[in-house]
Symmetry: C2
Subunit: 311 residues, 2 copies
């Protein structure tokens, strides 16, 4: 698997980690980072997460960079000019993805030797994004397929980026019915080449599942942290810290996720509210047998995860 | 701070960690482990968490063990006979604590050279335990003061014990009005000598605070794990794992905690239910500004904890 050039729009934690992983695993000759934030670009260059920095898409896509390191068949690096962008990764908050995808496709100059440009994103919700491109034809022959690498940290920014962030993590690819099989295959191979386990499903199915496994846990964690009373701080232990770890996520990013996956998240919240009421009633009635059975079932479920490589 | 002999009843994660910490820091000449589970005792001996093992309290308290290592003033170890037990730590689930405390006090033989026997526990709830001893006089001049080291892991058993488990963690001592100042001071110095930060408060205040900072988080974490659907397992990431980590705790231990701190836990659950309903209504009405404000407040609270040594 080899891309001549990968353009990453947005060099935060995820974009920066993709750059580091691509370079560590020599998946692309050249990695171009695009961002309107000069500080992030400088930090990404310093961390060697990108080879070249550009302040906007036109510059990032259309500047000819001199050196692309390609691994030759004998194993020694060969320098070559690689002016075309074959993969554009849009690593920005979900509400910005559709516009950036459109701008990226528009900025591709077909007069040069661009061909076969695939665009993907890394957003945590997929339905609202992918539906925008299901029946639309992007300019310049570009195609979009959504991705969601299920990896992250409670920290943000390229300074926390990690070349192994995707290793053994699941990356979900969410093609719509109009996607080409070859593009789906390329994208799956891309995530696998970063160390991920890749899966493919519809955007809607992705959003229903992630509401339960990611978005609800985030909101529950944030709500617990939200209720923290200042005089209780010193009485928090490692359990409290673990349970509220997600609350340190970026508010504007999670606002976007909630507003883009509203129905599935509401369904997950209502289910949890119902279960919490049931548990409270068991405690109110002093049904300790039922409380213990609940705790046992929860422990079995949780212990079952520990065997997985993603614990 | 020095105890000639410390008897630990119950050599699981906490009892075993106390043994390891006491021995690492040379706080006592001899550590005796008492348990009716021979496997735990053997594991505790193998890990050097205890010096001697006893199958029951009478044997543990009244057998004269030959060697107690005492640090002399010149720093070299001195062997001496130390037949008296000065501190008994009852490290069993909260529902068993009162009976074990009573049995321990009864097993103390005053005909020998026992004197000044202080008994404590390590239970996560304090009111129901401590109220049993507030106006009662224990046999043989023994006194009880409750303790709760706010430290732990999602694993259990002496095989997971850790000599540094209490380091920089809070240990709460919960004397009742009848406790002697000298005993309170001894117990606080004991926890400090294990590396803990020690605090003192009433059993009732302890229980109200811990319902919010420990018991509620545990139940929320368990409830999330309880709802896990098997087909969703592979879509859980590090965030889900962190938020549900507590669910691996021992069901019988947590059943006890819930049944011993029922009112404060119910109050914390009702408060959380109310907050969850409010959050759902914000999402239902599409008030993304309010959702973002909530996420920001939660992040500020959570980020404020990271500076503490207990994160």
């Amino acid at each position: 698997m080899y891309f001549s050039r990968i353009v990453i729009f947005g060099v935060g934690l995820i974009g920066g980690s993709i750059g580091l992983a691509v370079k560590k695993r020599r998946i692309a000759g050249t990695v171009i980072g695009v961002s309107d934030d000069p500080e992030s670009l400088n930090a990404a260059l310093e961390r060697h997460a990108i080879d070249f920095a550009a302040a906007n898409l036109d510059e990032g896509l259309n500047t000819k960079h001199p050196a692309a390191v390609r691994q030759s068949e004998t194993g020694s690096p060969v320098l070559s000019l690689q002016p075309e962008a074959e993969l554009i990764v849009v690593a920005v908050p979900v509400s910005l993805v559709p516009d950036v995808v459109w701008q990226a496709a528009s900025a591709v100059k077909t007069g040069g030797n661009y061909r076969n440009v695939l665009i993907t994103d890394v957003g945590s919700t997929k339905e609202t994004i992918c539906s925008r491109f299901e029946s639309a034809t992007l300019p310049n022959g570009c195609r979009f397929i959504g991705s969601h690498p299920i990896a992250g940290k409670e920290t943000s920014g390229v300074q926390n980026a990690d070349a192994d962030l995707f290793e053994n993590r699941l990356a979900v690819v969410t093609p719509t019915s109009s996607a080409r099989d070859r593009d789906i295959g390329s994208l799956i191979r891309f995530w696998r080449s970063l160390g991920s386990v890749a899966a493919s499903m519809s955007p809607a199915e992705h959003d229903r599942i992630l509401a339960r496994t990611s978005h609800l846990p985030h909101l529950l964690s944030a709500l617990l942290a939200d209720r923290l009373q200042m005089q209780d701080v010193r009485y928090t232990g490692p359990g409290y810290h673990s349970t509220t770890r997600l609350a340190s996520g970026l508010p504007e990013m999670w606002r976007d996720i909630v507003s883009h996956n509203t129905e599935s998240i509401l369904e997950a919240i209502r289910d949890y509210e119902h279960a919490l009421r049931n548990l409270r009633e068991k405690i109110e009635s002093g049904d300790w047998e039922a409380v213990e059975q609940f705790l046992e079932h929860a422990k079995r479920n949780r212990d079952g995860l520990t065997g997985s490589s993603r614990s």
